[in-house]
Symmetry: D2
Subunit: 415 residues, 4 copies
């Protein structure tokens, strides 16, 4: 029995970032045992700590499991071992003991060096190219002969540390969400974060659903795009159609947005908007032919902001601009998300979960929805700097945009 043990070490802000807590937790959850061999706490706030532990278990299988979980929390065996690779035998099929990724920054020890894995995403695999670059890939991207990482050795995960003493929204609020917090205040904080992110040219991506249009926040989002705060829009057919209906006929779900009176044949307006897009050929052609001259998609097109409309089985139409193949839509989403620094998820569960699955844990995420369970679910995707706001997007987004305009003015005055 004495044989089933392994020494591991771990460095970093072990305590305040809860890394050690999680390691101890996981070991105990799996009924494992451990001994602390060495523990050096950073003497001052900001200093990293170091711990060396002996993990012990009842049998070989359990030890393997224990090590897998502690490695995922950032621990490492004392003795460096090379990562194990295995060739893909058939397109889109992984070897049985494939390594399944986290969304944290990850390195592999290959050919005696630590290599960063590019394009980190959760629940994917890692391929290593002949040029010794490592990339996170989806199962559908695998081709026969690709080498992918198997087993758990030679892999180093860098858990995200909790940000400290910052000034942004992510320090302002804990990761839980609730409707019982000061909305105006939170709106200003988010505006500040957007502003600061853009000041250093950080890329901001908006993920949005049709409720944004119904609840009357179209003009706010259009302004956000126009003013340069959005570098990509990820959405679906419904938002585009509602946006066009709103722009062409001034109605949303059959109600005149301006004066709140009912439109005749409201539902037909929806179909008419779709028909107009088919007639023009695409949204872009609608803009070129000056049929569409305002709204969210108009701003994207005239400001050269990339947008992707991912198809879904509930689409009416769908319009020609929709990427009807979902695998292709995922790839296009992924392209737009490249190097994003911040993602605003505005009232859409479907597209937000899709995006959450593609993000590394280093990207800031703000999830806004009127339903607390939806916000909770989105925050669960696990980026470290995620915050949720349970609010009405129709009232909230205009608040954020208003504050951004003040910031813009005061910034121009300063310069």
């Amino acid at each position: 029995m004495e044989k089933y043990e392994q020494e591991i070490e771990v460095k970093g802000h072990l305590i305040d970032s809860m890394i050690l807590t999680r390691i101890f937790d996981k070991i105990m959850d799996l009924s494992g045992d451990f001994r602390v061999l060495e523990f050096v706490v950073g003497k001052r706030k900001g200093d990293p700590s170091y711990a060396r532990l002996l993990i012990r278990s009842k049998n070989k299988m359990q030890l393997k499991e224990l090590l897998e979980v502690v490695y995922r929390e950032g621990a490492q065996p004392l003795s460096l071992k090379e990562v194990q690779l295995k060739k893909v035998a058939r397109n889109m099929v992984m070897p049985d003991n494939f390594y399944s990724t986290t969304n944290n920054p990850t390195q592999i020890y290959f050919d005696n060096t630590w290599i960063n894995v590019e394009n980190m995403m959760m629940d994917k695999c890692i391929t290593v190219s002949p040029l010794k670059t490592a990339t996170c890939k989806t199962i559908r991207e695998l081709r026969k002969g690709d080498r992918i990482v198997v087993g758990e050795q030679g892999i180093r995960i860098i858990p995200q540390e909790r940000p400290r003493e910052g000034v942004d929204i992510f320090q302002f609020m804990s990761s839980t969400s609730s409707s019982e917090r000061p909305t105006q205040q939170i709106g200003r904080k988010i505006a500040n974060d957007i502003f600061r992110t853009r000041k250093v040219n950080g890329k901001i991506i908006v993920v949005a659903g049709p409720v944004l249009v119904h609840s009357g926040a179209s003009e706010a989002l259009a302004k956000l795009i126009r003013n340069g705060y959005v570098q990509g829009l990820l959405t679906g057919n419904a938002l585009a159609v509602h946006d066009v209906e709103n722009a062409l006929m001034g109605t949303s779900l059959g109600m005149h947005v301006e004066d709140g009176t009912l439109a005749v044949r409201g539902h037909r307006n929806h179909m008419q908007a779709i028909n107009e897009i088919f007639k023009a050929g695409s949204l872009k052609e609608m803009v070129q032919k000056r049929i569409l001259n305002k709204g969210i998609l108009y701003e994207c097109i005239t400001n050269d902001i990339p947008f992707v409309l991912a198809g879904s089985v509930r689409d009416d139409g769908p319009i020609p601009d929709v990427v009807t193949d979902v695998v292709e839509a995922q790839q296009k989403y992924k392209q737009v998300l490249e190097n994003a620094k911040m993602v605003l998820m505005l009232s859409t569960m479907l597209h937000s979960i899709a995006v959450g699955n593609m993000l590394p844990s280093t990207v800031k995420v703000v999830a806004i929805d009127i339903s607390q369970p939806v916000v909770t679910k989105l925050l669960d995707r696990g980026t470290t700097q995620a915050t949720g706001v349970v609010t009405d997007i129709g009232a909230f987004l205009p608040l954020v945009v208003e504050h951004l305009e003040l910031l813009g003015v005061s910034n121009r005055n300063k310069n």
Copy 2:
């Protein structure tokens, strides 16, 4: 079998107000039968219609039931009969066949005249005084010897007709609620309604819960009171304590409202606010001693707006101003609600249901909450001119107040 039938008649906007629909529905729901003996439809829009029906049933019991339900929808037997009264034998005990009220305007045929019943509320009883006045009362108000209405005859209910072609919010939206509607627009509509109601000196009562403070809408409500748009505030211990904490220490649930930083010992602030109120003796004395000089309750006190804090079992404290006996609290609520024209229910289910139980169907009700099930439940109470808004009060109330200020300015300019 032929004997179990009765002729009834009904007048009004039978079709567009769905009165006849409901009568037919109810008869069929109870497996009854009917024959339309006469039906004169108003020739033009606006003209009342008239219907005479023969209600038929299988037995005496069923006929009685059928008649009860159709009477409640506004139908009447052809032959006028006197209302039946019975004396209350013991305090707080009704005779077995007591008449249970609706919240619609109701008349009783007593001593050969139709008498209006005062103070209509749902699920109560009707007493008739020696002076031949009729009043709706709760069971706890009944005293031995009071005469109350029993059975179902001699009672006329005037169902509320659906308002038409109006300009207010209640025409704008159907009675259903959803978060998928234009928030800004709805906010302006509600502001218009409040403004119009006050222009003719209509009394507006606000029912509010502590979420209003947490979500940062205190200043908006304070302004609403200060500007004369509120004639009474019905709430509980929590809103008052949070309001005082906010006014004295600038915190709400332990967070500085101004800059969003965490307060030390946040929870203690809540207890300290309570202690300060006990120390001063009451909220009024806090204002007199100039300890409390802003906030919702401050505005109520300095502007002589009546407020009632109804106690609940979850109260911390509760503070001296709380009416700890719930029956007494109900009476005080009822007094403040007298002659109200409009009630704004702001993010509180407990107090809103209490108020809903006390209102006649003629009062306008606006129910605002972030939870759709709560809004649906509140609208269920059944006033005819009720509308629900599923939104975040922290973002929405400031919107309404902002629009009211614009209306106020443009009104002053006109005069």
Copy 3:
């Protein structure tokens, strides 16, 4: 001004099915005017009524609008007119004044006869073939040269009448939904309805989401399929993957379903299930190779029940069985739904809305979800015999299945 008027007539259960109410409502909503020229009420319950109205308006445009809306409620002009057709000029583009369908049974008056429109769905168009058959089609199905219905004349809609004195769940509950109703009772009612529908060989389609697996209702649904109560399953990638994970590894979201203990590398199980499916080639091949031998999909495959997995942008994988093109997925959904008598929507908004868009108003719909807003939204799609249950599918579906087993036993004993 006198010229802008038109006589219309309408027949049916005008009052209790609220047809006349809706017609009057719509006219008034649009500020139109009307006169009742003739009104014959069915003398007895069950007799149809007849009304002849003169619709009047201020101008030609308004009259057109008024007529459009009343025609949609089942009214007809007195003088029979032929339906108007127009050729489609380009693939997937409708003529500007295309007729947009309701989901009610619809007829067109063509070549002096009333023709039934096949395949009714909401918000689509109607094509007429050279063989004089009429079919409801989506915009993407239109080909150059197709003749489609334009304008509003020569079209008859048969509004669904409210069912009466029935024995099924749809009489039991009003169309509103709430969590405050007797769950056990409702479960038995739904079981009865399912049983009765199957007794006359009615086709029942299940639409389901992954929550069904997470909440532990897999075995209940598997049993429902095995016992012949399901004739088609419409879902997506997630349910299939979770179902396979559950079948192969006994876990769901990383927890052992049997004893509730945590599985090691829970998230990896999810990816492993996906990999196993890719390895086998498809779900069907997994069954053939005896790798998959229980669960929801297993039952579909072994019992020859058609299933469609519609792709979505949030899919992990997606597995080979998923129809990744959403337009193709819609077509496959539609095929499975053909002639369905009843649809059970189990905890999925995405797929349920997709299905709702494809159903004629004559199909029975039961929508079950733990979120009241979701249920309300699903019922809004507008089939007449729709009912919603706000409950936890993990507790509710086993209840329904248990009661169905009792019914099955008692039925066998009777025969």
Copy 4:
């Protein structure tokens, strides 16, 4: 500046129970500084750890704040100091620097010994009697001359440690709640916990709301009481009235529970139930007079289970058994809760929050509601062994009771 520092120490499962994490967090949240002077980690799982820290700050005020927060997490100054007491100057008024309690077990160092504080509750104060006993009290209980604890010194808090390797529900689930978990499984786990708690004569208190009756779980709760699993019931007027209506008339909200048909004058049944209780005098008298012979309250009365009906402003009636004064109701709730080991919160936010405010952190809490925000809010109250289930009580409680019956049978068979 060097002067603003203080040495503190802390013992226990510092890492896995996150005590040290929380201390570090709090210091950093308040922009404080610290140095780890000594840190001895328990060598084996189960061994306590020890840490000695030097807390440093910029000024005296900040140091005070820092110490306050770390003391609340279980830290202690190295040098033992006596607790400070101050006399209450007036009834119901605390000295300004009163100590505000947590709900964790707490000791005070008084007269050179550590004294346990009795009756721990959150957000209250501590009084010390002449007999040197310490008790947690509400502000309304304070009388002139009482000595209460002020400041933060001489107080030791014992934070609850996370339970480990247990077999009960509290190990099964993390403290978060979601509707995406296996309901049947969770139901069995909760049944096991109830069973185990009763086997060692642990006191179980049920807090319940009227939804329990509407959703059809009355018989399940009645059985739970009858079978000895409930030692106290805390609820309000509505549950009692609905329970009586159900028992007397077989209806709930106007629907016959047995066959689901509509009752005539459903709303009147509610008022009739209230009148019957007033007529009998009380629920107890109804049982004695054999008018009430089944249901939840009947079981309480015949099995001598204490119950408290706390009044609320929305009560219809309220019936004579209701404690209409909320302060008195709080005292009665508190009495019933004395020495409770487990509390089941069943579909009521109002009463559950009231109870949550009264519980020490050592009591097991199970919060069940169909609304995730409600469950989240209840778990926030902060007992360590709290778990939430987002489910439909009407389907869930019968599940739990069914499993308890199996456990009871198998237990009897064993003995």
